[in-house]
Amino acid sequence: MKKILENASKKLPSTIILSVTAFFIFLPLIGATEFSLRDGGPDKHSFQSYKWIFEQSGFKENLGITFQVTSLAVILNLLIMVPTVTWLHISGLKYRRLVEVVTILPLIIPVVALATGAQTALPSFLHNTVLELSFMYVVIAMPYSYRALDIGLSGKPLNTYVAAARNLGASWYKVLVSVIAPSIWPSVLAALFLTVALSLGEFTLAQLLHWTTFPTWVANVSQENILGATALSVGSLFFAWLLLFSFTFFGTNKIDRSKDEE
């Protein structure tokens, strides 16, 4: 009994710190949600601002643009990163250092600076299409997607699997479908989630390269209807959190499993 009490009193300061932290995490969220539900004044509440969102023609239109940009970014990202990282692991990680260094570079350079250069340096076939953003999003997602794939594959002796399958007479096609694909699938999913979350909320490049996407539209809306903009912000924060939380959930499960296998 004494020991339990002693233990509890030892943990008390940390419990207080963590509770205060949780309180401050939720404070702005509660305030913003209340604000977005206001109807006319601070005393009357309704879903008026949320209804207003769906009456805006810009809502569907810009959400559509953002989904297009995101889809292309995800496809490009997977097309480039999945074969590259898979090959890296099959070929015995000889070039891992090089790829590691190269893919971390976009994290070092501020996005604003990248946008300044991209304004004039992008290839001409992308000049008049919003899809140029997809190509840039692949670049800024690369530090994360590379790491997601690399961590996922690090727990697995992929080249041993491939050699075993080949020795047992499997064709390369068979190896790809029944050996490589199932092994890399969780990490592919992780890379996909990260790219989606990043592309859906990206504001800097979209705004600086003068495109209207969902996030830049939300910023513009605030000038005519601040309640509506708040409702949009609360909505997109909840959506992004749901997406990211499900990803981290996936991510930790996956890493744990790969540790068990070792």
Binding site: L27, P28, A118, P123, F135, S222, I226
Partner: protein
């Protein structure tokens, strides 16, 4: 195998520098070519463009005039503001993050740690316009928190508080800075084994001596690295700052933004490139030591 390795070293040493580029291309194996082409077109070329144009005048001739402008107001002020914002935000984020990371470790529990890791991962990625509007709604003059405090006779805005300010930005940035700190710094805190403290005590060390000789030296490199990362993230943040300030604070990203929007008042079309180059240089100064320390410490933290 070792034979070929030796001979390549000999060839490398003997060949002239003119073949350097060709050797570099040959060094990249075929399956890595798509990645390198993609990065060249969409990353290295834009960055190269920034570095080149920063040293060109309107006619494309070499000049240092753009760079010189960076050291004159209002651009010098913009850099000074951005650097102070980065430093103060990093200080606030790293100190609070440090306390919370230690509290998490003391409180223990694998499940709690996992849960907090997930939440931190989510919050660290929260930024941009929605974050700014969330704070403006909650802590703006009409916000719930402000009116709530007002009902107790505490009028923060009367006391000079405003979100549209330097300190307002620091507060809002904390919402993603502290979680970043928790993510980056927690492995270092976990690597402090309880056994070390016990053995230090058994050997007669005081608590202070333990922290002085063991705790702080182990945590310091990771703390500095995290600080640098937080600095870089606040220094280069654009979306939140743009949504929150009303042209009252001069920050480098915002100045670049207004230049790209076409608000060029002087005949210096390449000034934007020079500002961007300045940002790149400062970010490299913060991020390269960060990555270096991270790579070194993560080896023994596992």
């Amino acid at each position: 195998m070792s034979n070929t390795a030796e001979s390549t070293v000999v060839v490398k040493g003997a060949s002239s520098s003119r073949g350097a580029l060709r050797r570099l291309i040959k060094l990249i194996p075929l399956p890595l070519i798509p990645l390198f082409i993609f990065l060249t077109v969409f990353f290295f070329l834009p960055i190269g463009k920034v570095a080149l144009n920063a040293f060109e005048d309107n006619d494309g001739a070499y000049t240092l005039a753009n760079i010189r402008l960076l050291f004159q107001d209002p651009y010098r002020l913009a850099f000074r503001n951005s650097i102070s914002l980065g430093l103060i935000s990093a200080l606030v984020g790293s100190v609070f993050g440090l306390v919370i990371a230690i509290a998490i470790e003391k409180r223990g529990g694998v499940k709690l740690k996992k849960f907090i890791a997930s939440i931190s991962g989510v919050l660290a990625n929260t930024g941009g316009v929605p974050l700014a509007f969330m704070f403006l709604a909650a802590f703006g003059p009409e916000g719930l928190m402000i009116t709530f405090l007002k009902s107790f006779g505490i009028d923060l805005y009367e006391w000079g508080f405003t979100l549209f300010s330097f300190s307002g930005l620091v507060i809002v940035y904390s919402y993603f800075q502290i979680p970043i700190m928790i993510i980056v710094f927690s492995p270092a805190v976990s690597s402090l084994r309880r056994e070390w403290q016990e053995s230090a005590e058994n050997l007669g060390a005081s608590r202070f001596a333990y922290w002085q000789r063991v705790g702080v030296p182990i945590l310091l490199p990771s703390f500095l690295a995290s600080f640098l990362l937080l600095f870089a993230s606040a220094f280069s943040a654009y979306a939140t700052a743009r949504a929150m300030t009303v042209g009252n604070i001069t920050l480098v990203p915002l100045v670049i933004g207004s230049l790209l929007d076409g608000n060029v008042t002087i005949n210096q079309a390449n000034l934007g490139y020079a500002l961007a180059l300045g940002m790149i240089v400062i970010s490299i100064l913060a991020m390269v030591p960060y990555l270096f320390i991270q790579a070194k410490t993560s080896k023994w933290q596992q």
